[in-house]
Amino acid sequence: MIRLKHIYKSYTIGTVEVPVLRNVSLHVRPHEFVAILGPSGSGKSTLMNIIGCLDIPDSGDYILDGEYVDNCTEDKLSEIRGVKIGFIFQQFNLLPDLTAYENVEMPLLYHRISPSERHERVIRTIEQVGLKDRMRHKPSQLSGGQQQRVAIARVLASEPSIILADEPTGNLDSASGKEIMDIIKGLWRDGHTIVLITHDINIANQAERKVYVHDGRLSEKEIYNGMENH
């Protein structure tokens, strides 16, 4: 499903080229739940942006569902994101001026979906995350956990096969963090492929498989021993 081959990515700051990902290869099978671990600044988010087609690698191949993503146009990438991928961000990334309902509906406006089906999907997914009574609230009127649940409903409404979560519990207290993790595990059981980024080993342990990013490289074993206590 997700196949990264020898991915190289660097950022140029001024005239200095700083490599972030060096020769990263990763294979995620359908319905898998993979946790990506690594210290801050190791390149986890950069990797997730590439997996999520928000960014393209400098070199290497990314094959998503048998399609070479590196050759896609910007609009084609938008389409892939809209159809196949759902993002759950650490900072929720809801639109502050829209209600919970409108936030969930927003991505569907870019799909060819009839208004009645759109409405049906929004209601269904908002119910699924247990926020039916908070539908008309704006993000600022919701708690962090509730906002993250709206963000999850927004993902579910588009019915993507892959869900990418970048530190989804990073801004939440442990109780709401646990709620969010329970929802994510539920989605995995429903058949979604999940890639979760975290530096919390306890969260990573709930995944099927753990992958470590260190110094721009990936390994299935933890190299950095301090991680466990991080």
Partner: protein
């Protein structure tokens, strides 16, 4: 989808009420300027045009300057035999001091023949007109306008009264119908006396001007040509006379108002362009402010065209809303103007609609650069801004 985008635009405008209003102000003022000015000038122009048409477009006026002896009243009468001409009325105009008891004033005295009433299409309300016999006998009678009657007699019932024109006593035999003001000077303030009496009073043998009534509106032009060739023969001097017709005045009038309207449209277009630059400015600010929103939208699947459309729609909504507000305010302003100037100017809807359409064009024109800029933002860069 389209409806959602429009709703979104108005929401964005509403969320920044003050800023949106200030941005729209340029457009509002531009639209108000054009709609109010065009409506009022065209209202005034159509008032004048109406009063000119009232006088009849079959009327021709000939004025003779220079040597007064050149054209006699009798020779003019011969013009009436032309097929294109219905009737002719020679006139001697002068002004004299008129006395009635203690009232004294200078009035315009017109020596006329009976045909004057037919040609000028005026009637009397009391008494009688100047008759053929008055001309024959040089009688000292007069027919006076309503303004003259009320200022000399204090009433329109002035028949059989006497007034002193110059040194002679005249008997009032009739009072004209009230005409109201008109572009060619109202008959209301004139005193009509027999042509022959006027000729004797002024010592003038030739006519100073004469009116011609064409047999129909279609023959006006050929009547004008006949009169012109007649006058050229009589005076042998092209500069000595002038023949004009109301329709020429109307043409000139409409030329003037058209030029005026064009000028106003030009000024308005410029002010709307300035308003458009204001919109572009604020849209650029808006794109920068909403970089994160654009990033989020792109992350969940929005394509370039979607972002482009959203911002275009917003700038368009801004300018069209400004246009509509301007139009509504113009309606009010014209009402106020009518109250203050006690006129009856009406809003010119075609200009109003044109202004709104122009606003939409401005919105698209000046919104396209900010919209293109927004659509080109990379989702990853846009998301990074927090």
């Amino acid at each position: 989808m389209a409806w959602k985008i429009i709703k979104l635009s108005f929401k964005a405008i509403y969320n920044n009420k003050m800023r949106s209003f200030l941005t729209m102000l340029g457009i509002i003022i531009g639209v108000m300027a054009v709609v109010i000015l065009v409506s009022i000038t065209q209202g005034a122009a159509s008032g004048i045009t109406d009063s000119i048409s009232d006088m009849g477009s079959d009327q021709i006026t000939a004025t003779i300057s220079g040597d007064d002896a050149s054209v006699s009243a009798d020779s003019i009468e011969s013009l009436a035999s032309y097929p294109s001409i219905d009737s002719v009325a020679p006139v001697i105009s002068t002004s004299e001091t008129v006395k009635k008891n203690s009232e004294t004033g200078s009035y315009s005295i017109v020596g006329v023949t009976p045909s004057y009433f037919t040609v000028r299409d005026i009637d009397i309300q009391r008494g009688r007109k100047i008759a053929e016999s008055d001309i024959e006998w040089n009688t000292n009678v007069c027919v006076i306008g309503t303004d003259v009657a009320s200022s000399l007699f204090g009433t329109w019932d002035a028949v059989n009264g006497t007034i002193i024109i110059g040194d002679s006593i005249y008997k009032v035999v009739g009072v004209l119908e009230e005409q109201g003001s008109s572009l060619a000077g109202s008959e209301d303030s004139k005193i009509l006396i027999p042509y022959s009496t006027a000729s004797r009073m002024t010592g003038q043998t030739g006519v100073s001007s004469f009116y011609i009534k064409a047999s129909s509106e279609d023959t006006v032009n050929s009547a004008i040509r006949s009169v012109e060739s007649f006058l050229l023969q009589a005076t042998r001097d092209e500069e000595a006379y002038d023949v004009s017709n109301q329709s020429e005045v109307l043409d000139t009038m409409s030329d003037v108002t058209n030029t005026m309207s064009l000028l106003l449209a030009g000024i308005a277009a410029i002010s709307l362009l300035v308003g458009g630059i204001g919109i572009m400015n604020i849209m650029l600010v808006s794109v920068t402010e909403r970089t994160k929103e654009i990033g989020i939208r792109k992350a969940v699947g929005a394509k370039r065209k979607h972002i482009m459309l959203q911002f275009l729609c917003e700038s368009c909504a801004l300018s069209v809303l400004g246009g509509v507000l301007g139009l509504v305010l113009s309606l009010g302003a014209i009402e106020v103007y009518n109250l203050v100037a006690s006129s009856a100017a009406a809003i010119n809807w075609s200009v109003g609609i044109a202004a709104i359409v122009f606003c939409a064009v401005i919105g698209i024109l000046f919104g396209s650069y900010p919209a293109a800029k927004a659509s080109r933002l990379q989702p990853i860069d846009a998301l990074h801004i927090s």
